[in-house]
Amino acid sequence: MEASKRERCVRPQRAARGQKEKRTTAQKVVLWVVFGIFVLYAVSLLIPFLWLLLNSFKTRLEFSAGVVSGNGGLSFPAEFDIANYYEALIGFRVRVGSGESASDVNLLGMFGYSILLTATTTFLEVFFSAATAYVMAKYDFPGKRFIFAMVLISMVVPIVGSLPVMYRFMGKIGLRNTLPGVWFVYVSGFGFGFLLMNAHFKGIPWTYAEAAQIDGASHFGIFFRIMLPMSVPQLLSLAIITAIGYWNDYATPKIYLPSMPTVAVGLDSLTKEIQKTSDYPLMFACMLVAIIPILVVFACFQKAIISNVVAGGIKG
């Protein structure tokens, strides 16, 4: 029923899009000029990585002699040696933790931490956002409007300066440097996801719930068996947007989880470590190794990622 309605709405638009827009010569020229600018911008985004790639095969002496001689690192390496890549992926490690619990982590380990942290935190954030949004959208209870007002105020009034106090507090309750601690810092259930899901749940008719109630479903049953499955696309959008944020976040894991360096945090430590030996090429290899998996995932799922960011971000 729903699907067919949507079909009907979409079809005329698609048909309209199918028609080629007639353009004047001036407009065509403008579009090609813009195309040129777009190409330049795209190239500017790619060149730094090609430069890193080119120089990651050099020895440190070859690189430093080259740049100070004025070639800007734009020469080909004398030999394409993959030693830096082996070292970057496996060999180079940073020490984390203290006392008897200290351990070495290489880039592979950092990927593990990033995946663990991103996956668990995204799951929790999406779940709590959905739960909070659902309750606030579908139930009336004392204090509801008050909670809503408070949440809105807390979202639109950014207060900075509480970081040192939060840091002390997390230490006092024993959650600093623990995975649950980071979950606690990240997951609120009242953030951007709440607004997104709230709007979504408001749009779902209550009749579905009534039908289920007649079949004897509990409130939990309705939420888990009916409402959540109906919201998978929205949940997926939210998950992708939040996951990108968590994957790239630097400050929170750096402050609250130093013993489990994610790629974003560990890469910074690795580069600082390597800088002491002036081994720029090794540092470049580390950086490229760190971004390749992200690029592969992105290349495979770029359509899904971009369209979900769009869908999720639209109401922002």
Binding site: V67, V68, A149, I153
Partner: protein
């Protein structure tokens, strides 16, 4: 909207509650008690010294010693050698080393929860951590403990404190207690490309004027005299602070660090720092285009080091860790030798009774700390530090780290002996000679809370070196007069409100 306002009021009310609940007490006055015994027994003649009887490993319930250290600057080879030698000397003990590039971020948490036993790093807030009871008070158990007995001098006990150079002793106590051991002693100056100097026949300058002449000579040879990373402005302290001490003398220089007299920031009353700064300004800022590598402002430290190694400039201002930062293996790979030029004397420099200039040095590296965690394996950690202070073990450091010594007293003859294992580059020999000659060395450390709380520093308005370069010749030009007048206005205007005890 009404509800939003109500919500805001309730929230504001809830948030202000703690204010009225008295979450913090009212102000308690009192003294900080900074005074500490800096007295030392005579250590000039070691011939009759007999080493203490060391305890065996069985004396320690916990035989594992965990040490974390900042591995920038001096690397880790010295500590690895110390650890293995310590294990040999104390069979049954195991030393675990943890190199890291960031000791301080998690330090307080670690000290509270599961600390390493010893921390070695720069910038440790040891005064605060010590006062909080997180660092071991080393006064009785380490500083007053006897390491040697001088059998030729009435069996006088040579205590740990006697083995340290005065500057290292002076920068290790807070509120009457010793909390740290100064990791190293070093000196600043100018690092030079000796291979290049030899090739062109350039002479080492002893005075400011000679340095100026040298720069001209280098320029006329088509080379660039100096290079420095724009981002590392503090390196100029090596020269400016040295000139300041040369002009002010030990007593006047130290007066500022006592933090008791605001006039020390008043250039009309205390002109020494300003004079030194002016010397630097006249030589380097005014001749920036000729004496400094073009574009040095946009270089980071690594690129600057690469450029120096590749012969793009003849000299760099340097601290004690310069050679280690350049990389011993890199210097060898490139195939050059480097040396140290002690900061040349300015004409107002103090002279001794024979009319010779008095050699002094400023050493920012001397502030690096070794501290012991109160909740760690304190006994074994302190034993390790005692063992470290024994003459033969103090030499492990310069064997591994070019031209740098620990905070202990060394015999210069040993270091400079022929085929000395401590002198790899000319730099090492130059540095040891300089440290041996210096009659006064200061780390610029102050036990005054005004300094610890960062209300004042030896340049109250921040390091302005780079600004001087980038604004020179422009309408916004920063003059020495302006820098010091502004600094004095800042100190004079706030002095009373800064007083906390």
């Amino acid at each position: 909207m009404k509800l939003s306002k109500l919500g805001a009021c309730v929230l504001a009310g809830a948030m202000l509650l703690p204010l009225f609940a008295g979450c913090a007490g009212t102000w308690t006055g009192g003294e900080l008690g900074n005074d500490v015994d800096l007295g030392q027994n005579d250590t000039s003649n070691r011939s009759g010294w007999v080493l203490r009887e060391r305890p065996s490993a069985d004396a320690f319930a916990d035989k594992d010693l965990y040490i974390t250290y900042f591995n920038g600057g001096y690397g880790g080879a010295w500590l690895e050698e110390m650890a293995s030698t310590f294990e040999e000397d104390y069979p049954g003990v195991q030393v675990h080393l943890n190199p890291t590039n960031d000791v301080n971020t998690t330090l307080e948490v670690e000290l509270e929860e599961s600390p390493y036993d010893i921390y070695i790093s720069q910038d440790i807030a040891w005064e605060y951590l010590g006062a909080r009871g997180l660092l071991a008070d080393l006064t009785a158990e380490l500083y007053d403990s006897v390491i040697y007995t001088d059998t030729e001098n009435d069996n006088t006990g040579i205590r740990f404190r006697d083995l340290l150079v005065p500057a290292s002793l002076a920068c290790s106590s807070y509120q009457g207690k010793y909390y740290k051991v100064a990791q190293i002693q070093g000196a600043g100056g100018i690092i030079y490309n000796k291979t290049m100097f030899d090739q062109y026949g350039w002479q080492i300058p002893a005075t400011y004027e000679q340095l100026q002449e040298l720069c001209e000579t280098i320029v006329s040879a088509g080379k660039v005299p100096f290079l420095v990373a724009g981002s590392e402005g503090y390196l100029w302290d090596s020269l400016v602070h040295d000139w300041w001490i040369q002009i002010a003398g030990e007593e006047e220089f130290s007066r500022l660090y006592a933090g008791k007299d605001k006039d020390c920031w008043n250039p009309a009353v205390y002109p020494y720092h300003k004079q030194a700064y002016q010397y630097w300004y006249d030589l380097f800022v005014k001749n920036k285009d000729r004496y400094l590598y073009p574009g040095f402002e946009g270089l980071d430290n690594l690129m600057a080091n690469s450029a120096f190694l590749n012969g793009l400039a003849a000299m760099m201002p340097a601290t004690a860790w310069a050679v280690n930062e350049l990389g011993k293996d890199m210097i060898e790979e490139v195939g050059i030798d480097v040396g140290l030029i002690p900061t040349p004397y300015v004409k107002e420099a103090k002279k001794d009774e024979n009319g010779n200039f008095i050699r002094v040095c400023y050493d920012v590296a001397g502030r690096d700390s070794i501290v012991v965690a109160e909740r760690g394996n304190k006994d074994l950690a302190i034993e390790f530090l005692k063992w470290m202070s024994e003459t033969e073990h103090t030499l492990i450091f310069p064997k591994n780290v070019s031209g740098t010594l620990m905070g202990f007293k060394y015999e210069t003859e040993t270091l400079l002996a022929e085929n000395s294992p401590y002198c790899k580059f000319t730099w090492d020999r130059d540095m040891f000679k300089l440290l041996g000659e210096a009659s006064f060395r200061s780390t610029g450390y102050s036990t005054s809370y005004l300094f610890i709380d960062k209300k004042v520093s030896d340049y109250p308005l921040g390091n302005k070196y780079l600004d001087c370069f980038t604004n020179y010749g422009k309408p916004s030009e920063l003059t020495v007069n302006k820098i010091f007048d502004d600094a004095w206005n800042e100190v004079n205007g706030h002095w009373d409100s800064w007083q906390i005890v």
